[in-house]
Symmetry: C2
Subunit: 330 residues, 2 copies
């Protein structure tokens, strides 16, 4: 059975691809565990890290949202689709039409292509806590309504509706995961408004100064790359019955303030590492980030076997191990 | 200033058009009351009732969801759009692609056409309580999440997201109204799953037998044609500030069971009129209708000046006055 991973060259996608290849098996819509005979990556960008050398792996570069493109990515033996490709929050806010085309129309085209298969694939969609916004309660719970206040969040919420209705109609077997901010992201800063949440940890550990565009009291609802990959795999293996009438799920995470990130840097690396962060507020970033919820109490995902990190220190140490070869610059 | 009413030949749309012409004035995005110099109806079907003879009225027949069509409906002096056109619930469930095209893509095309105007129009969208579904609380409140379990409800919820984001971006000044079941609808039964809620009152009052496809314990959240038109006008006249960060609003209504409708028929017309209703369950209709919420406590709309009917008897008497010339068949 084949697996498609859109956005598979990204930092989450490439970890997911490696995990799928390592595991070698995945569940299909019949709740049967099948051997993975091929993993197809669809992405527009070259991987930042080399992809695994594996004859089961195929990478297709191109825009999956173009008419007819999604159909080319799927074949009758595609059993699972992991849809991670997206225009990130900051860019979707500044380039509205591009965000609509990739984040909303693109998801729909993938769902339509999936619908055309004889056997509907399991469809795991990477949504976001950006679906929340506006007048929110102090703590987000499983039944908090989605009232996004960004185009990115709106496109993710709209895609969730599509995933849910296509699932209800039997066109796919969908699951939408509302991802926390994933830290520590390796590589360079990107156009996501949440980019700072990785930068303030990543750059100092590599001896570089970094500007934090938000106050140190700013919190984020965070999950590590290790754990989010576990969540994607868990989402794909859960039987259809486990989702009931609600195909959207808030993932677990931990609430971490920038000040707590600084403390973790100090504990692990000393004052010199933490001192590499300078605070210079950026109103554009602040406006987006301050609209995001930071405190959650997602009970449903815990009951379904999804797991968060224990604390920010564990997340930082995982980054040092996975991406810095166990070493950092004192 | 011009006003566009999509679905304007329908029973709600045509009442709204008449009310707009009678009133002669409507508020624009600057919260200024302007004279209505023209009302344009866009619809695919001929009106069941004759439209008013009025030189300000223009009717354009055609599918507004076709590429380029929406732009033809708007002009630079269009100040308010009332978007009522839709594929109804039963048909959208059976003809998925048609529902997606009209209910979701069509709304987006109208929003896009509105965005292209120099001065963004006020945009009042006819949504539905079908956005609720699945695992709901016993009473729907303003902050109940939308988890639709029909394609119609999903398309309405998706359109609300678009209206909200296009408003946030300043492309339109949108307001989405979640309509209760509007009874008593004149004319003939239609493909809406809620069609029975009008039929069981309408046909007996005209001396005809009717089949009710659901049990008499079935409740509906109801509003009259008179009151829903008042709600559309109220939605258009409220200043932008009144909506805050949430452009979607649950309208007021009353909860009425079919048994209570039968009682109203008995009170007004006697046992003979009520005896014209025969109960024959239809599983297709039941499945859709039983998934709809019937009990609501929408506080926000009350504070914003929207009003429901007092009781089912008032609704039935309004129907007899407005559509049967004050007479019914004993």
């Amino acid at each position: 059975m084949k697996v498609l991973v859109t956005g598979g060259t990204g930092f989450i996608g490439s970890r997911l691809v490696k995990a799928l290849l390592d595991r070698g098996r995945v569940h299909d819509i019949d709740d049967k565990e099948r051997e993975i005979t091929g993993v197809r990556i669809a992405d527009v960008t070259q991987p930042q890290q080399p992809l695994p050398e594996d004859e089961r792996l195929e990478t297709i570069y191109g825009d999956f949202s173009e008419p007819g493109a999604a159909e080319q990515l799927l074949s009758e033996d595609t059993g699972v689709v992991f849809h991670l490709a997206a225009i990130v929050s900051g860019q979707a806010e500044q380039e509205f039409d591009l965000g609509m085309r990739i984040n909303l129309d693109g998801t729909r085209r993938l769902l339509e292509a999936s619908r055309s298969l004889k056997k509907p694939p399991r469809f795991v969609f990477s949504s976001s806590v950006a679906v929340y916004g506006g007048d929110m309660p102090g703590v987000i719970e499983d039944n908090t309504p989605t009232t996004p206040q960004t185009s990115y969040g709106s496109q993710k919420a709209g895609s969730e509706l599509l995933v849910a209705d296509y699932s209800r109609k039997g066109f796919v077997d969908g699951r939408s995961l509302r991802l926390p901010t994933i830290i520590v992201r390796p590589g360079k800063p990107n156009a996501a408004a949440s980019s700072f949440a990785s930068s303030v940890l990543r750059e100092p550990l590599q001896g570089q100064e970094v500007i934090c565009p938000v106050a140190d009291t700013t919190g984020v609802w965070a999950l590590s790359p290790r754990k989010v990959v576990d969540c994607f795999l868990r989402a794909a293996e859960l039987p259809t019955d486990a989702w009931g009438m609600n195909r959207s799920l808030c993932l677990p995470g931990i609430t971490v303030t920038v000040a707590e990130m600084m403390n973790a840097l100090r504990e692990i690396g000393g004052e010199g590492v933490a001192a590499r962060v300078r605070f210079e507020p950026d109103p554009f970033i602040e406006k987006i980030v301050y609209g995001w919820p930071t405190r959650f109490s997602p009970k449903r995902c815990i009951g379904m076997g999804f797991k968060a990190d224990n604390d920010i220190r564990e997340i930082v140490e995982g980054f040092i191990d996975d991406y810095l070869g166990g070493e950092f610059v004192h």
